[in-house]
């Protein structure tokens, strides 16, 4: 059994489970940060990253998701290669041009649900059992 420990990153003075991710579409790659969100069904990235990956976001399967204020935002879903630290997976990733924050989200569907993860807030790190 291996464990991968990823330290939390400070976000305006509070430590958060932000991780570095790479999304790959054929010969194009983007690297950015994403928040590990066990409350989110889908992973959501800003639409600009889809364009950088050479994707037409509107060609993805549309899913409407409900957000915290009860509003609904459209997501466009793609199956892409995702690398979290050095964990490689074929992930279901949604892109949205209505994401109202600069932060991307890693959700459960096909990503967090594939692993045993301990959110060790006391020691400010997430521990992935792989």
């Amino acid at each position: 059994m291996n464990k991968i420990e990823i330290p939390y990153i400070p976000w305006r003075g509070r430590y958060c489970p932000l991780v570095e991710v790479q999304i790959i579409n054929q010969d194009k790659t983007v690297r950015t940060l994403a928040y590990l969100d066990t409350g989110a069904t889908y992973s959501v990235f800003h639409a600009d990253f889809a364009e950088e990956l050479g994707l037409d976001i509107y060609s993805g399967e549309r899913k409407d998701i409900t957000v915290g204020d009860g509003g609904i935002i459209p997501l466009y879903i793609f199956k892409l290669e995702l690398i979290i630290e050095h964990l490689k997976t074929n992930a279901i990733i949604g892109f949205s041009d209505r994401l109202g924050t600069g932060i991307n989200i890693i959700g459960r569907e096909n990503i967090l649900d594939n692993y045993v993860i301990c959110f060790d807030g006391k020691n400010k790190k997430s521990i992935w059992h792989v």
């Binding site: 291996n2 990823i6 400070p10 003075g13 958060c16 570095e20 989110a40 600069g102």
Partner: protein
């Protein structure tokens, strides 16, 4: 990489504990406070141990790094004041 030896009822298991963080993440962790003060609400491109581009949008940052010929930078959003607490 750190390797721990752990005993489960007399049976020993070897658990590899891998701690890996990129140069860009280390820079971000070390300089986050300063970046939040100076670049809050913007996107930055990090490459190795420095900021190579800053912009208001992801596209703006990518345009700058492409002109510079930087390959695979880490693009990060720097939170502005008032974005301390998150509900995601």
């Amino acid at each position: 990489m750190i390797v721990n030896h752990i005993s489960y009822g007399g049976v020993y298991a070897i658990i590899k504990v891998v701690k890996m963080v990129s140069d860009e993440m280390l820079y971000l962790i070390a300089n986050k406070e300063k970046l939040e003060e100076e670049q809050g609400g913007k996107y930055v491109a990090l490459y190795k141990n420095k900021i190579v581009a800053i912009g208001k949008t992801i596209h703006e940052v990518y345009e700058k790094v492409k002109k510079m010929g930087v390959k695979d930078p880490l693009i990060a959003y720097i939170p502005r004041r008032g974005e301390e607490a998150l509900l995601i």
